[in-house]
């Protein structure tokens, strides 16, 4: 089964989404991330969506759910690389994404 790779850097997990994910892949990623946070007692998750030019409500909800699960597990989630055209569009669709912190890549 195809999976999006999750990398570990110290106490943090990093995932770079580089493909136009179909829904099953997004659900698998959410499950994988949650499992890894638990297994490795991660302090945080960094989700890089700089390659995504479409973030619809399903993906938005996947990211929000991951962040919520991470919070329950005492880990923080940071989303980086939201393309400007995606920001406007995604906020129309998924208001929960406004709760996530945004960081500019250095």
């Amino acid at each position: 089964m195809e999976r999006i790779p999750i990398l570990r850097l110290g106490d943090y997990l990093i995932v770079t989404i580089q493909v136009d994910m179909h829904d099953r892949l997004a659900i698998t990623l959410q499950d994988d991330l949650t499992e890894r946070i638990v297994k490795e007692s991660a302090k945080g998750v960094l989700i890089d969506i700089s390659a995504l030019d479409v973030v619809d409500s399903f993906i938005g909800r996947m990211i929000s759910n991951t962040a919520a699960m991470a919070m329950v597990l005492d880990a923080q989630t940071v989303v980086v690389g939201m393309q400007p055209s995606v920001v406007r569009t995604a906020l129309n669709i998924e208001k929960g994404m406004a709760l996530l912190k945004q960081r500019q890549p250095r």
């Binding site: 973030v55 909800r61 055209s85 129309n92």
Partner: protein, 142 residues
């Protein structure tokens, strides 16, 4: 409802929507068409995002269906129209389904309200037990 007397449409693409992969493929088809017609990046993104929402609805709530993409001309203006059709259970209360935050029983939002906001024109026809047809249209800003 829009006046279609002076609008002509040419079928550009058709796709069945019966699997996750076909939703991804439709996004790519719509993106390519929007680029080919010279839409700006933000216009492309809004339309593809709305298309993705509605394609997912067709698959998950409509039990699978089809999408048609047309290139429209109205005088000198160019537009794109996507029509989503399914023969599924239909929507009993359309007004409610269009409200933000509305979710069906399995927790997935229908994204209808969001899709409407992203597009210039939006129509929906649905009766319980009789399927659903949704169209979205964007017009290129000159």
């Amino acid at each position: 409802m829009m006046n279609s007397n002076d609008t002509t449409g040419r079928l550009a693409a058709q796709s069945s929507l019966r699997s996750d992969e076909e939703i991804v493929r439709l996004r790519q088809i719509v993106r390519d068409a929007a680029i080919a017609q010279g839409f700006s990046l933000i216009e492309q993104t809004k339309f593809v995002t709305a298309a993705s929402e509605l394609a997912r609805n067709t698959l998950q709530h409509g039990g699978g269906g089809d999408a048609r993409l047309e290139v429209l001309t109205r005088g000198a203006r160019v537009g794109l129209r996507l029509t989503f059709v399914d023969q599924g259970p239909g929507i009993a209360d359309i007004e409610r389904a269009l409200q933000d935050g509305f979710t069906s029983g399995n927790g997935l939002g229908l994204g209808l309200g969001g899709s409407r906001r992203l597009c210039d024109e939006f129509t929906i026809e649905s009766t319980q037990g009789n399927g659903t047809t949704v169209t979205i249209t964007i017009w290129k800003v000159r």
